[in-house]
């Protein structure tokens, strides 16, 4: 099956760093957006992404969760270099992105693709969908016929009959079908990594399940790595190997999916998990759900950003910003919380008791 596929599609790019080398390392990514301030000529900055670091291992799915406005989508666009990095560093398969001796942004975009949330606006309404899918290979130097052939192949792979659907326009497709086209479009240039930015959030539950299964299957057969962004914890739990929790532009917790869902460390994660309804009473987390809106990312709280809504906040939380701690491998489970940092000064800190 996969042998048949490889004959038609664009040649996948070779693995350079080996299996142990993370596919993507993000170091201290920062992006602030300037906005108009209250007074005349005043300027303020929205700290959309403020010092995010993580590693993405080959072949895994890293789920990114957080409330809306926490910087998830900005993070996705930073990784794709769709918006400029304020500061920080991206290392793709061992080579710096945009660095003189590393991979260029163009090369990165050949290897990383993205599926957007709004399936309708992410397809050109004036283009038959087979042309939308064929556009990527065409841009990367394939002939028109060859690009079309790849498009046919890809549409078939996402479960759409290319003869039936290829000539159609986006408005003639359902939401789930459009999202399948978007997936086919992303895969058409044989990327090694796909960023799924709320890719199933707009779909009906039944369709969502089908698309999720499709994504799982495609990951296996194309040997892909996913960065899966969603606000839906159930979906993230279903598809992810590891989970990264974001709050106000920062990573608050990172770890394997089962660890995070069974033993969440950070009060914010606990609150998030507590807020969702569980069918299984044994699985419920007894944590008061958080109330109110998150503080403004223009002027975030000092120290720990969650302290204004945290039931365990103490003086130290206001003074020092907790650090995420060192993660070593796929199994590391870390949280940016003073309660989990020995000797931080928090009364509940591990090792104090």
């Amino acid at each position: 099956m996969s042998g048949v596929f490889q004959s038609a599609a664009m040649a996948p790019l070779e693995d350079r760093g080996g299996a142990a080398q993370p596919l993507l390392i993000a170091r201290d990514l920062v992006r602030h957006f300037k906005v108009k301030g209250v007074g005349l000529g005043e300027e303020a900055a929205v700290r959309a992404v403020d010092g995010v670091s993580f590693s993405l291992f080959k072949g895994e799915t890293l789920g990114v969760v957080g409330e809306s406005g926490c910087g998830k989508s900005t993070l996705a666009r930073l990784v794709m270099h769709l918006i400029q990095l304020g500061s920080g560093e991206l290392i793709f398969d061992g080579e710096g992105v945009g660095a003189p001796d590393g991979v260029s942004v163009d090369d990165l975009r050949r290897q990383v693709q993205m599926v957007f949330q709004d399936s309708a606006s992410s397809l050109n309404p004036r283009m038959p969908i087979r042309d939308s899918v064929a556009f990527g290979p065409y841009v990367h130097g394939k002939s028109k016929e060859e690009s079309r052939r790849i498009a046919r192949e890809m549409l078939g792979r996402v479960g759409l009959n290319p003869d039936l659907f290829g000539p159609r326009y986006p408005h003639e497709l359902s939401g789930g079908q459009k999202q399948r086209v978007n997936i086919a479009r992303a895969l058409a240039i044989s990327p090694r990594m796909v960023i799924l930015d709320e890719a199933v959030s707009a779909l009906d539950k039944s369709v969502e399940a089908q698309v999720l299964n499709l994504l799982r299957e495609l990951r296996r057969s194309f040997n892909l790595t996913y960065l899966f962004i969603s606000h839906d914890l159930n979906v993230v739990q279903y598809i992810s190997d590891r989970v990264l929790v974001m709050y106000l532009g920062q990573v608050v917790e990172l770890g394997p999916v089962d660890d995070i869902f069974s033993r969440p460390l950070h009060p914010y994660t606990r609150a998030l998990l507590g807020s969702r309804s569980s069918m299984d009473p044994a699985n419920r987390i007894e944590e008061p759900p958080i109330t109110g809106d998150p503080p403004s990312p223009i002027d975030p709280p000092s120290g720990c950003r969650f302290r204004t809504r945290c039931p365990h906040a103490e003086a130290v939380c206001e003074l020092t910003m907790p650090r995420l701690g060192q993660w070593l491998n796929r199994d590391s489970h870390v949280a940016a919380c003073h309660m989990h940092e020995p000797g931080s000064g928090h009364t509940l800190a591990v090792g104090n008791a």
């Binding site: 666009r77 794709m80 769709l82 163009d106 975009r109 050949r110 990383v112 693709q113 993205m114 957007f116 949330q117 709004d118 606006s121 992410s122 397809l123 050109n124 309404p125 004036r126 283009m127 038959p128 939308s132 556009f135 990527g136 841009v139 990367h140 479960g159 759409l160 009959n161 003869d163 039936l164 659907f165 000539p167 159609r168 326009y169 408005h171 003639e172 359902s174 789930g176 079908q177 978007n182 479009r185 992303a186 240039i189 039944s206 089908q210 299964n213």
Partner: protein, 301 residues
Amino acid sequence: MTQAVATSIDTSWEADPAPAAKTRTYWQSVLIRIFRDKATLIFGTVVLAIVLLAIFAPLIAPFDPYKESIIGRLKPFGWRGHPLGTDELGRDMLSRLIYGARSSLLMGMVPVLVATLVGGTLGVIGGFAGKRVNTAIMRTMDVFYAFPSVLLAVAISGAMGGGMMNGMIALSMVFTPALCRIAETATAQVRSLDFIEAARATGARPLTIIRHHVLGNVLGPVFIYASSLVSVSILLASGLSFLGLGVKPPEPDWGLMLSTLRQSLYVNPIICAMPGAAIFVTSICFNLVSDGIRSAMDVRQ
């Protein structure tokens, strides 16, 4: 078991209500809608007839439009085989009206075409580039917007000294800002959509993105607006000729004819009014055809 369920769901997706054969491109369905619209078809035929008259004027016109006659001035309909009489220099009115369609159509369409190309390009560049480039282009256009269109046309062609070429340059400059604004708005709207972002994520260059993803979406509104300007351009062009700024005598041009015949108002009023009627018919037909095109293209599918 689960496998079977999944497959059955998948096939039910593909059994779509709309058969593949019915899928038409956008422009095909626009054409079909135009052909179902009787009024637009009728006025379109009139426009076509006027265009054909202009092209084949030498074959159709019964007389030489420049041939003067001292004894046959301002004669009524049917006088010595002149179906619509003669003008103030004894030239055949019908032949001059037929030949007059040439300059009217030329001055109606060329400036709109030029303005569409220039304004459209500037608008797409501004809308796609955004920020400073856009501000620079659009503020410049705003300045030209700050003139009433008649005044701007008169100002430019008046300063340049009249003539058909200068008139067309002036009218092109009059229409450029409006078309630029339309193209800019449409481009900026498209640019914010995800599929442009997706195309950028594919690694496509801005020009490739504009060619494949932007133009197709901007062309529609620009074309609708440009088609509505043809009628305006015909009116303004004849207005310039009427003021002595457009076509120069002795060329047959409806606006110019109206201006020279005005002196003979008291002698033969009907003949004096005819060139204006020609302008009116042409302009209203273009206007109605443009309305038809607009409603055929406007429908959300």
